[in-house]
Amino acid sequence: MMMFSLAEKQQPKELREVYQETLMEIMKNNINVVVCDADLVNASGTKKLFETYPDRCINMGISEANMIGASCGMSLTGKIPFVHTFAPFATRRAFDQLYLSGCYQQSNIRIFGSDPGFWALHNGGTHTSVEDLALTRVVPKLTVLAPADAVQFKWILYNTVDKYGMYYFRCPRKSVPDIYSDSSVFEIGKGNVIQEGSDIAIFTIGEMISEGMKAGEILKSHGISATVVDMFTVKPLDEELVKTISRGKKVIVTAENHSKIGGLGSAIAEVLAENPIGAPLIRVAIQDHFGEVGTPDYLKNKFGLDSDTIVKGVLKALNIAV
């Protein structure tokens, strides 16, 4: 059962460290778990795993298509592969393998696509995926997750081990602000209402939850009370929650580190189009263009992925002069 509380203090951990530490425990307890990487072991922080479990850690080399395919093959004989590469290579590059070798024939692997969206940072446009959610969301039988923080990421790693299926999760390797307390329990397919308010609703994923919460605080000073929701399961989407939360709100906002096309905003737009509530929808997301090199602050600012953009959008929709 879902039961979470918010973090009381900030002790953010690098998510790659969480990945490595959690898999270390998981591998210790489950001999079927294997870890695969595509020549990014030093980047994903899994070196210790490779040293501790050399037989069950496989560096596939720079061949993502084969990595996804071979991992699916391993899963058909009872292995539980955790596979990592950067988000664009995990999805864009190996899409047909993910689709057919993975989901179509019902394999059983977990794919960690790291550094989505602006998190590609100085790797720039070639390594930036602003479309991984759009691609993965359209694949039947694929669970698509975007953890908000270290606690949720760890929970996902633990709680997908024994649940047969295909999973894609995306998050940065670096640290993000803590949202949840250590003891929090989640449920795949259910959104988490982080804070409740009566006027507007902000649906977010990943590190954008912090921006959503910040926006909620700023809006309070304008007399606007906001509900903020973590929709960490992008697919299957918690449609009931979207409908319940949206009912009676004056503005609905979505915020994500992804293209405006095909991600969380699109998913929620689809629900609201089929269940009209009469309120405007503001999608805070990367517009229809490519990534580029830059620092997080520069890129977030350039793409308009911050609390300011959310606040301005809400105020404009409510005809409130800034």
Binding site: V34, D55, R56, I58, M60, G61, S63, A65, N66, I68, G69, A70, S71, C72, G73, M74, S75, L76, T77, G78, K79, D96, Q97, L100, S101, Y104, Q105, Q106
Partner: protein
């Protein structure tokens, strides 16, 4: 006629009958691998048709998935499912779609069809058995046209690097792909040299000779520290002269002469089996 030759004839007959019933299908590439399937399912592979998911079985991956009819005919002849089911090929709601689907057909280990993907699945399965130190062997057939796909060579590198000697990769070198001769589309040059250069133990044999195929497999069983590849020199449309000579024999829609020849082939194959007392 040896038992394996007889099995090949039975499988070839069933392929012809099922495509005759359907009216169209991937005949050429199905016929070129019949002798290999006959050796695998009739002799060297550890299988249990009554329990297709038997844990101790050997695995087979038809990476060139469009040759599905050849695999279905083999499985039916071996008793995985009734022969009558072959007549449902590509029917609406069929359990035997043109390309193999492990969720639909008893005995199909892996879903294939998008070329290049089966070989990666095969190396993954072999790697898994290697990790668990299990004795199961893995067999896969890759098409020579399929080797156009870059993923095939990614998987070959992986197999060689990990010394997957529990895996035998057959390359069905039937010298043709959908649009024509491979040498005119994308020349594979000397496939044996290429695969050898990747670090494989390689043997090139005549792919219509059951004994040669069996001996090559037994020889590969002795290889302990290398991935193994058997290149099958075959003919697209193998075993039926008319289709061997037919230039466009990848996917045939039977009518007129091509249908007449199919009927003829079916009769001839039936007679051969009758002579042998089935």
């Amino acid at each position: 006629m040896s038992d394996l030759k007889k099995l090949s004839t039975k499988i070839r007959l069933e392929v012809c009958k099922m495509l005759k019933h359907r009216g169209f299908g991937h005949l050429g590439g199905s016929l070129s691998i019949i002798e290999t399937l006959s050796v695998l399912y009739g002799d060297v592979m550890k299988i249990n048709p009554q329990n297709p998911n038997w844990e101790e079985r050997d695995w087979f991956i038809l990476s060139k998935g469009h040759a599905g009819p050849a695999l279905y005919a083999t499985l039916a002849v071996k008793g995985y499912f009734p022969l009558e089911m072959l007549n449902t090929l590509n029917n609406n709601d069929t359990r035997i779609p043109s390309h193999p689907d492990r969720l639909k057909t008893p005995g199909v280990d892996v879903t294939t069809g998008s070329l290049g993907q089966g070989i990666s699945l095969a190396v993954g399965i072999a790697k898994s058995f290697q990790i668990s130190q299990k004795p199961n062997r893995v067999y896969t057939i890759v098409g020579d046209g399929e080797c156009n796909e870059g993923q095939v060579w990614e998987a070959f590198q992986f197999a060689a690097h990990h010394k997957l000697s529990n895996l035998i990769i057959f390359i069905d070198e039937n010298h043709k792909q959908l649009d024509g001769p491979t040498k005119d589309i994308i020349n594979s040059f000397d496939m044996k040299e290429k695969v050898e250069a990747f670090g494989f133990a390689v043997k090139r044999i005549s792919g219509n000779d059951e004994l040669a195929i069996k001996n090559a497999v037994l020889e590969m069983f002795e290889v302990k520290d290398k991935a193994c590849c058997i290149i099958l020199d075959t003919i697209k449309g193998q075993g039926i002269k008319y289709y061997e000579m037919l230039s466009d024999n990848h996917h045939i829609r039977f009518s007129g002469e091509s249908e007449f020849q199919l009927d003829l082939a079916i009769e001839k194959l039936k007679e051969e089996l009758e002579r042998e007392g089935r």
